[in-house]
């Protein structure tokens, strides 16, 4: 559905290669593509405009002018700028006299309650602290029960005050509970609310005042559109936000909302929610999020996903190992990955994780077809060719195309894309290896 930015910019700029200088028109054209890509990724328009101004100057610099592939050079600049704006990862540390309070707020259905449970589990397990959960959602039916059940599931104490009927009374009682049980971290869930609902915004401001949280986290759905900027600003005006949790990042949403929220509030992105289960919480990684927003895929995440799904563990671990070494990724591996990914979650998950070029730009139905064709091409190669694609010259290409019922152009395209992703993986080596359960069940 969304075309990869690299493809679009290559189309606009690579024809100009070697001309030595780009005209103002060329740059404008390239920036238009960047703008559209960011808008399609749901980055808020004012944020897009600022961003474009930032890259404009650099897009006319020597880096692009002297590049053999000006399109990719621009992508590089855009990517770096995005990473810079998203900000370096900040460790989630709670420095406060216990109980340190973590307050979660956000729109209806954003994922606050689920994230509260995930955070409780994460803090307890990684920071070895005594954690308690509390709910102040006295509005939505069964909202309190929801958190209570999640707390029981992860075996974290839940504050269930008797007779406390308002959100504020429940918060006060929870603080009391936490003190009585020598709790180190108290995580307080709140009801979903609209930024334009003044009574409800007053309530959350009062909760903040009463609880004096060490961390006030804005929970935002990765699928959010332009409203993310507006809403984040409004929340930030009433609540000094100290961090952001981006939920539902396990789907195919590009997550431009993360950039909008980060720009508008200045609060650091801390965590990504990557599933419905309480373990599905990931530390924020700017490199990966930037690639995602640009539609550039995440091959390392894909491999690790295969690994964690315990499907063909040996092969996956092996491959991950070789990928970390930065070489040795062969077409045979690629073929095996394709088969595994089909087992894991099919084309949806695959498209999410692969660069758009490899996954095929067709619609999703067509995507599976594209995959089968790609698979057919690789199947028609000899083992040696799969290990050493540089062997594949013109006559071999014709044979492979005939064998797979495809065309030499398609074979060429596959080889080119494969070479690119191999290069990309070399760059990825080391960094960004956190695990990603994308596309794997809940």
């Amino acid at each position: 559905m969304f075309e990869n930015l690299t493809n679009r910019l290559s189309r606009v700029l690579d024809g100009l290669r070697g001309r030595g200088r780009l005209t103002e028109d060329d740059v404008r054209g390239a920036l238009r593509e960047v703008r559209m890509a960011l808008l399609e990724a749901d980055v808020a328009l004012p944020v897009v405009k600022d961003f474009i101004e930032r890259v404009r100057a650099r897009a006319t610099g020597a880096e692009v002018l002297q590049s053999l592939t000006p399109g990719q050079a621009v992508v590089g600049i855009v990517h770096r700028e995005l990473v810079a704006i998203l900000g370096a990862p900040v460790p989630f540390e709670l420095r406060a006299r216990p109980p340190a309070v973590v307050l979660l707020a956000g729109l209806q259905g954003a994922g606050k309650t689920t994230s509260a449970a995930k955070l409780a589990r994460w803090i307890r397990d990684t920071q070895k602290k005594r954690v308690m959960l509390a709910s102040t959602d006295v509005y939505r039916p069964a909202a309190i029960q929801q958190l209570e059940k999640l707390a029981a599931e992860i075996d974290v104490p839940f504050s269930a005050p008797q007779g406390a009927e308002s959100a504020l009374a429940r918060a006060a009682a929870a603080l009391e509970d936490a003190r009585n049980h020598s709790i180190e971290v108290l995580i307080v869930d709140t009801a979903g609310r609209l930024a334009v609902d003044e009574a409800m915004m007053d309530e959350v401001a009062a909760l903040h005042q009463r609880l004096e949280p060490a961390a006030t986290l804005f929970v935002v759905d990765a699928m959010t559109g332009q409203d993310a900027a507006r809403t984040a600003r409004a929340f930030h005006e009433r609540l000094p936000l100290t961090g952001v949790v981006l939920t539902k990042a396990d789907g195919d949403a590009r997550g431009g909302a993360a950039l909008s929220v980060r720009e508008v509030t200045g609060a650091p992105l801390l965590f990504l929610g990557v599933g419905e289960r309480t373990g599905a919480l990931e530390a924020f990684d700017p490199e990966r999020l930037a690639r995602r927003i640009l539609g550039m895929g995440d091959i390392v995440g894909l491999v690790e996903a295969a690994q964690s799904a315990e499907i063909d563990q040996g092969a996956a671990a092996d491959l991950a190992q070789r990928l970390k070494a930065g070489d040795g990724f062969t077409l045979a591996d690629f073929r095996a990955q394709m088969q595994q990914m089909q087992k894991l979650g099919g084309i949806g998950a695959l498209k999410d994780a692969l660069p758009a070029k490899l996954a095929g730009k067709a619609d999703l139905a067509g995507g599976d077809r594209t995959l089968r064709r790609l698979g057919g091409i690789i199947d028609s190669m000899t083992p040696a060719e799969r290990r050493h694609p540089e062997l594949i010259k013109a006559s071999r290409k014709r044979r492979i195309a005939a064998g797979s019922g495809t065309t030499v152009q398609e074979v060429n395209r596959l080889l080119k894309q494969f070479a690119e992703s191999r290069k990309m993986m070399k760059k990825l080596k080391g960094g960004g290896m956190a695990r990603l359960m994308r596309g794997l069940g809940r």
């Binding site: 559905m1 969304f2 808008l39 399609e40 990724a41 749901d42 808020a44 328009l45 729109l107 209806q108 259905g109 954003a110 994922g111 006295v138 509005y139 939505r140 039916p141 069964a142 909202a143 029960q145 929801q146 958190l147 209570e148 999640l150 009927e165 308002s166 609310r193 609209l194 930024a195 334009v196 609902d197 009574a199 409800m200 759905d221 699928m223 959010t224 559109g225 332009q226 409203d227 507006r230 809403t231 409004a234 539902k248 396990d250 789907g251 195919d252 949403a253 590009r254 431009g256 419905e276 979650g345 949806g348 998950a349 498209k351 999410d352 999703l364 139905a365 596309g439 069940g441 809940r442």
Partner: protein
Amino acid sequence: MFGPRKKSADEQPKLGFVARLRAQLNQGDSFLTRDVRELIPAGRPLDEELLEELETRLLLADCGVDATRHIIDALRKQARKERIVGADAALAALHKILTEMLEPVSVPLEVDATQHPFVVLVVGVNGTGKTTTIGKLAARFRAGGHSVMLAAADTFRAAAIEQLVAWGERNQVPVTAQAHGADPAAVAFDALEAARARGIEVLLVDTAGRLQTKQNLMEELKKVHRVLGKSGAGAPHEVLLVLDATSGQNALSQVELFNEAVPVTGLVLTKLDGTAKGGVIFALADRCGIPIRFVGVGEQAGDLGEFNAPEFVAALLGDAG
């Protein structure tokens, strides 16, 4: 069961639904009216600069790159044919274009009274408002004189069953549920049998939220659909996909992939009471043509309205319609 209520559209002075929706949509910054009227002083023709401004507004409303281009192109074409001068003329022209895009998809949901029960399967990604919409629909069908039953086929999310049961109590309609973790298809099937046995007219089936890219969960949904179908009489008679107006372009992927798994016959757009504009429906109308049945404008039982194109556009543009 229900705690104190938030400020709700219910409690506002008795306005018509449209007026309420309009008032709510115009809270905060109305995305077009304010600026456009400032921008287009009387006598100024609709030129490229103004078109660009309008384009900006449409993008800000989540209309998306493609649909926005389509709309602006149409407006430009019209401005070439007939001189469009001043804010009112520009807004009227835009109103007409937007309405015409939505008209084909504003088809209300009709309960087929010959079906006992008429089965509505409610699906969507996580947290869009499926369960709440079912609560609202139950109130609506009850008010329309139908007997209603709810089926708690979200057996996954913590307290999802309790949430639906609460809505059942509130509307005084029965809820069929099994234990947490039960097979959703089995719950749906049992509910259908129970509804049939009791002569219930409308059965509303709640399902767990699922991201459209999760193949295993989409398979689970297909199974629910299939099992309902096996029990005969063309069930489910309506598959409602619930979309969150706050969502951006991902809504297109949601519609595409859900529709691939189970034939979606209607859409509901929730949370239009916030500052989100729901402009993605223009792209949806453009691409998929699935009827938009209802809009959600709050968290209470009464906060549901039938989708209607001219009203929706009028609400979006202010009173220019």
